[in-house]
Amino acid sequence: MKSNVIYCLTTYNYQILSLIMFIIGLLGVILLKNFIKILISAEFIINGINILFISFSSYQPSDSYIGFTIVLFTTGISAVVLAIALYFLYILSKKRINTDTEELFNDNESMLNNNEELM
């Protein structure tokens, strides 16, 4: 006998997907060393949340677009954040080639220490 069960996508699957994206983004932010990769994983987080919003908006009445509007706002804000972050990256890359976070902050520390010595 052929099974008549059709596997359909529900909001549940979308929520799982958003969770997976969120966790990938979080791990990326925590674990990766490169500044650009960190920015990319931040985008992962934001997009995971966007998917969650859209999936929850299906519980709303059909004429309500509140979930979609929120997603538009978040994408706009994330674009702004990314633009600022890229500008910082541009300034940093003018002075240094390497964009590893550890070295970046360590050098800052040494700078601070030098300042203290000067003062």
């Binding site: 932010v29 925590i30 902050f105 520390e109």
Partner: protein, 614 residues
């Protein structure tokens, strides 16, 4: 009408407060005014207690109370309870205080701080009367403590002398021990009685309901507990009355001024312990063992302290030992189930001993503040009236004449029911006669003539008047008491006493050379080493206390400190390692705390749900 005037016994206290506050305000009352006001206050209290005495001949005991503390159902009252015991002893105290106030105007005339002295004496007088007239054991306890405090302040009157300050401290500490026993006994009795009867008005143990209390206590406790309660009260009483195991504080207390010794440590303070036993005698009389203990304590004290008094060279110490031994006789009469005889003996002894102390004070003053009797002598030629009064006192104390004759006879009637007892009583009586007439012959007759060489102490006409008024007043009372009391009979003890006086005359007034008995003399001179034993015990106790305290300090408290130190170091190291200077690690801490708190919340919530279930 009588019960509405209970505030009269508080007049001395108010006077003391007025004197002290005037001093703090910068206005010093003149010495004359202080003495006159204090004397007036004692006359008022004396009139009141005299009227009470008169009233109780014809009427039943009167009680008047007001509520002091109310906790739930428990009520603790203060007030006044007038019966024959309290009024007689209150009158005695007022009379002695009157005489002492007049006397100390002479003795303390060179003091700058006379107002403080009189304020303290007034406080003592008031607390004493508060104790004597207390309607229940609760008020008794309050004033029992206050008497100790007043005694501490008066012993340490010359607080700039190191010796006086130390003696005051020691005395106060020994008194505290007795107070603890009193409090423990009070709590046990109060709890047992209220627990059994649920009558909350009995919680403060009023003396008017003492029969009910004794019966319920006898029902509520086991015989052992009953004995323990009685023994607690006896220990409290014997410490206050300077009896055998605790008689050494009275010797230490002799560093007080002589009027204080005359008022407190000879007649009034030592009377409180015996008075407590007289008050609680219906309770103690139910237990034969406790009464036997009282008898034993009284006899041991009477013998030991009279032997110790025989060889002392300090005039005040002789009289202090004598006080202990006479109060021991009071305990003996209590041990023979006779509180009335005890009261009579207390009154007689108080008057006599106060007078003897005043005479000794005159001797000390004339001898330039030296208390050693070896350098005294021939006082009779200088002060014949004082010598006569001293003879009256000495004869009374030894039971040959005046009020002592009647009072001693009352005790011997009770005590001498067998041959052994008669011998024992005769021994105590002869020892008493010996030490008091030894004192008389050395100080007032004597071989020494070198005493008043040099600059003598100048007595003004006013001080003669003050001395004679106070001493003759008490002497007249001692003679008057002998007329009131039932007359004693002459027996063989009387003859022995007279022979002892003759012996004393030959030993101390003629040129016989005396030899010291080697061991016994040393023991008696140190008062059977009781003070030494206390010191020894204290050192041992303090040593072990210090060892345990240092163990606790180093290993328990120090260990806790060390643990705290280690744990802070460890925590700071962990915390330091967490400061990585990397923003990603900080994010990970945030994520981990979020996960852990949410997980903990969920797990606790589910656990509670599963176990208690809503």
């Amino acid at each position: 009408m009588l019960e509405n005037f209970y505030w009269i016994i508080l007049i001395p206290l108010w006077l003391a407060l007025i004197i002290i506050s005037a001093k703090f305000a910068g206005y010093n009352l003149s010495k004359k005014n202080t003495v006159i006001l204090s004397t007036l206050s004692t006359i008022l209290t004396g009139l009141y207690s005299g009227y009470c005495c008169f009233y109780t001949f014809f009427h039943a005991p009167v009680e008047s109370t007001f509520n002091f503390i109310k906790i739930g159902n428990l009520e603790f009252n203060l007030g006044i309870y007038i019966d024959s015991y309290s009024s007689i002893i209150g009158l005695t105290i007022s009379v002695i205080t009157f005489a002492v106030y007049i006397y100390s105007a002479f003795y303390m005339r060179d003091e700058k701080d006379l107002s403080r002295f009189y304020a303290l004496l007034n406080i003592f007088n008031s607390t004493m009367l508060g104790f004597i007239f207390s309607p229940n054991l609760f008020q008794s306890f309050i004033f029992w403590e206050l008497i100790g405090v007043a005694s501490y302040l008066l012993i340490g009157y010359w607080y700039k002398k190191q010796q006086a300050a130390n003696d005051a401290k020691r005395t106060f500490l020994i008194h505290i021990l007795g107070d603890m026993c009193f409090l423990a006994g009070f709590i046990i009795v109060s709890y047992c009685v209220t627990d059994l009867t649920q009558a909350m008005e009995l919680a403060s143990l009023p003396f008017s309901e003492l029969k009910i209390i004794v019966v319920t206590l006898y029902g509520a406790t086991t015989p052992l507990l009953y004995t323990i309660v009685c023994l607690l009260f006896i220990v409290a009483a014997l410490i206050k009355s300077a009896q055998f195991p605790a008689n050494s504080w009275l010797i230490n207390a002799m560093s007080a001024p002589t009027p204080v010794s005359a008022l407190i440590h000879s007649s009034t303070l030592v009377l409180t312990g015996a008075f407590l036993l007289i008050r609680l005698f219906p309770m103690i009389a139910m237990d034969r063992f406790s009464v036997f203990i009282i008898l034993c304590i009284g006899l041991i004290t009477a013998i030991i302290t009279s032997i110790a008094a025989m060889v002392q060279t300090n005039i005040k110490r002789i009289l202090a030992y004598s006080t202990s031994s006479q109060i021991g006789l009071v305990f003996v009469s209590l041990g023979l189930y006779s509180p009335t005889v005890a009261t009579v003996y207390l009154v007689a002894h108080a008057c006599i001993k106060a007078m003897l102390f005043m005479c000794s004070g005159v001797a000390i003053k004339l001898n330039r503040d030296s208390q050693n009797i070896i350098f005294m002598g021939k006082l009779r030629e200088c002060m014949p009236v004082v010598a006569i009064c001293f003879i009256i006192g000495a004869l009374s104390l030894s039971g040959i004449g005046f009020c002592g004759f009647n009072a001693k006879h009352m005790i011997s009637d009770l005590f001498c029911f067998s041959c052994f007892n008669s011998i024992l009583f005769g021994l105590i009586s002869i020892l008493t006669t010996f030490y008091i007439f030894r004192l008389y012959f050395i100080v007032f007759e004597g071989k020494n003539t070198s005493v008043f060489v040099g600059e003598p102490y100048k007595l003004t006409p006013l001080s003669y008047k003050l001395i004679y008024t106070s001493i003759i007043f008490l002497a007249v009372i001692a003679i008057g008491l002998s007329l009131i009391l039932p007359a004693g009979k002459f027996c063989i003890i009387y003859l022995l006493n007279v022979l002892t006086i003759v012996l004393c005359y030959f030993l101390y007034n003629t040129n016989i050379k005396l030899k010291k008995i080697p061991v016994l003399y040393n023991i008696a001179l140190n008062g059977f080493f009781i003070n030494r034993i206390y010191y020894w015990g204290e050192t041992i106790v303090y040593k072990y206390l210090c060892v345990t305290a240092s163990f606790i300090d180093t290993y328990i408290i120090g260990g806790v400190e060390y643990f705290i130190k280690l744990s802070t170091i460890l925590l700071s190291k962990i915390e330091h390692s967490l400061q990585t200077n990397n923003f990603q690690s900080y994010i990970s801490y945030g994520v981990w705390t979020f996960i852990l708190t949410i997980g903990a919340f969920i797990s606790i919530y589910t656990f509670l749900m599963q176990t208690f279930g809503v």
